[in-house]
């Protein structure tokens, strides 16, 4: 494991993994979309708008999972000061923001037919919005601090502080009385949802996870390469600056 913490080994590993992950993403996404649109039944109450669920729920899960992964990377940054952890953190923030946005948008689209409004200010929706805002703040922080190691430490601290929001999102439906659905898949006593809807949902969730992993690895790889390039150009400039001055 530690062997792959070396950025060079990591690049090699990522290079080998990415094609497989991309293939797995394509396969599972294809299967998931097929099941969603051609196999899964319409809901007797909701009609075909229930199909939004197969996008909404996986993106909601991924928005939280991404934060959890970012938090582990943040710990890596703080405890080991490892550049790979820095890159993993940085790469996760925009992905998290995109999945959260997807969750918000699909939720709103679903809310219009279901609740008669695009948006309500209940605890679940609000805490997801806060998650989105935290992602945006992190992106802003990454953009503002030029020096990568310093930006990583600052972002790690903010990430760790913001992690309290995750349990709030997860349990908001249980702690407060909300319009939003309580957990029906991951709950004590097994899923309270029929198999014909559960399977497509789970496959879509797997597909989204693969999609995330592919994009995340690719973004980490880009970040490492960008840093190397930056470092090379700085070194070259300083070396030449010196020879120029002594000439």
């Amino acid at each position: 494991m530690l062997k792959y913490a070396n950025p060079t080994n990591f690049l090699a590993l990522a290079g080998r993994l990415i094609p497989w992950l991309a293939a797995a993403t394509a396969l599972s996404l294809g299967a998931g979309l097929f099941l969603t649109f051609f196999v899964a039944p319409d809901d007797y109450q909701q009609g075909s708008s229930v199909k939004i669920m197969y996008l909404h729920v996986p993106s909601a899960w991924l928005s939280m999972m991404c934060y959890v992964i970012m938090t582990s990377a943040a710990l890596g940054t703080i405890v080991w000061r490892h550049p790979l952890a820095d890159a993993a953190q940085k790469a996760a923030a925009p992905l998290g923001a995109i999945f959260t946005l997807l969750c918000l948008v699909t939720g709103s689209l679903w809310g219009k037919p279901m609740w008669g409004t695009w948006w309500v200010w209940d605890a679940r929706l609000t805490s997801v919005l806060v998650l989105f805002l935290i992602y945006l703040g992190l992106i802003g922080l990454w953009q503002t601090i030029e020096e990568p190691a310093q930006a990583a430490r600052a972002a790690a601290i903010l990430t760790l502080v913001g992690v309290v929001n995750i349990p709030i999102i997860k349990f908001s439906v249980d702690w407060w009385n909300t319009l939003h659905q309580p957990a029906s898949v991951f709950k004590i006593g097994g899923p309270a949802i029929s198999g014909s809807m559960l399977w497509p949902l789970l496959i879509m969730a797997v597909a989204f996870t693969f999609l995330f992993l592919t994009l995340h690895l690719m973004a980490i790889r880009n970040e490492i390469l960008r840093r190397r390039l930056r470092r090379l150009s700085i070194d070259a400039a300083h070396a030449e600056e010196k020879s120029e001055a002594t000439a």
Binding site: W121, L133, G140
Partner: protein, 223 residues
């Protein structure tokens, strides 16, 4: 693109961009302010749509003013302001161009984002267009008034609050007519164009007057 003023304009935009995506931060701040209100007021959609224009206008006001506090302060700290005084370009024009760049980087994104935010506050479509138009007409006045405050506090090294305190009272007319034109857009007794005309007049007047006031304040600073 070779004149001093265009050089200044592009420099300002480039600096704005380097900081957390410049305009983006202003929009995010705006977004946060707008979404804080329902947290505080509670999820009563009727109430929210009733006070929606007010919330959007106050948030825009704050986002514009708070982004402005370093408009001249940064230049004063790093010595740029002194050097700008030795340029052949009149200081009034320099102020105007800096304000223009700031408006484009900060206020314009707010104008664009406001209808989206209005949606979350359950505002009606006509109201959404109204709020955008009124922000477009009114934010120049906010930027110019803010520039006066920024110039007054440029030497003091703790702008933020002080500047807001100096300028916020002066912005009340803009706020009042801004909200009332947004309200007029979604029906009401006043026709839409009247508050809009007043708002535009306020913006034009401050565009004409504020550069002189700000330039005078900058020159008066004990450099």
């Amino acid at each position: 693109m070779r004149s001093p003023l265009s050089a200044l304009f592009w420099r300002e935009l480039r600096i704005a961009r380097s900081v957390g995506g410049g305009g983006a931060m202003g929009v995010v701040f705006f977004l946060i302010l707008v979404s804080l209100t329902p947290f505080a007021i509670g999820p009563d959609l009727n109430l929210l749509s009733r006070i929606g224009p007010a919330i959007l206008w106050i948030a825009a006001l704050l986002a514009t003013l708070l982004g402005l506090d370093r408009l001249f302060q940064a230049d004063a700290d790093d010595g740029s302001l002194d050097l700008l005084l030795t340029a052949a370009t009149p200081l009034e024009l320099i102020v105007l161009v800096k304000c223009l760049a700031h408006w484009i980087a900060t206020a314009l994104p707010l104008v664009v984002a406001s209808p989206l935010l209005g949606l979350t506050l359950a505002m009606e479509p006509e109201s959404l267009a109204g709020i955008s138009l009124s922000l477009l007409a009114g934010t120049p006045a906010l930027t110019m008034l803010g520039a006066i405050g920024a110039a007054l506090t440029a030497g003091l090294r703790r702008g933020g609050l002080l500047m807001a305190v100096l300028i916020l009272p002066l912005t009340t007319p803009v706020l009042i007519f801004g909200v009332s034109s947004a309200a007029a857009a979604s029906g009401g007794t006043v026709p839409f164009h009247i508050p809009m005309l007043i708002l535009s007049a306020l913006s034009l007047a401050s565009l004409a007057g504020a550069p002189f006031a700000a330039a005078a304040a900058l020159r008066a600073r004990d450099a």
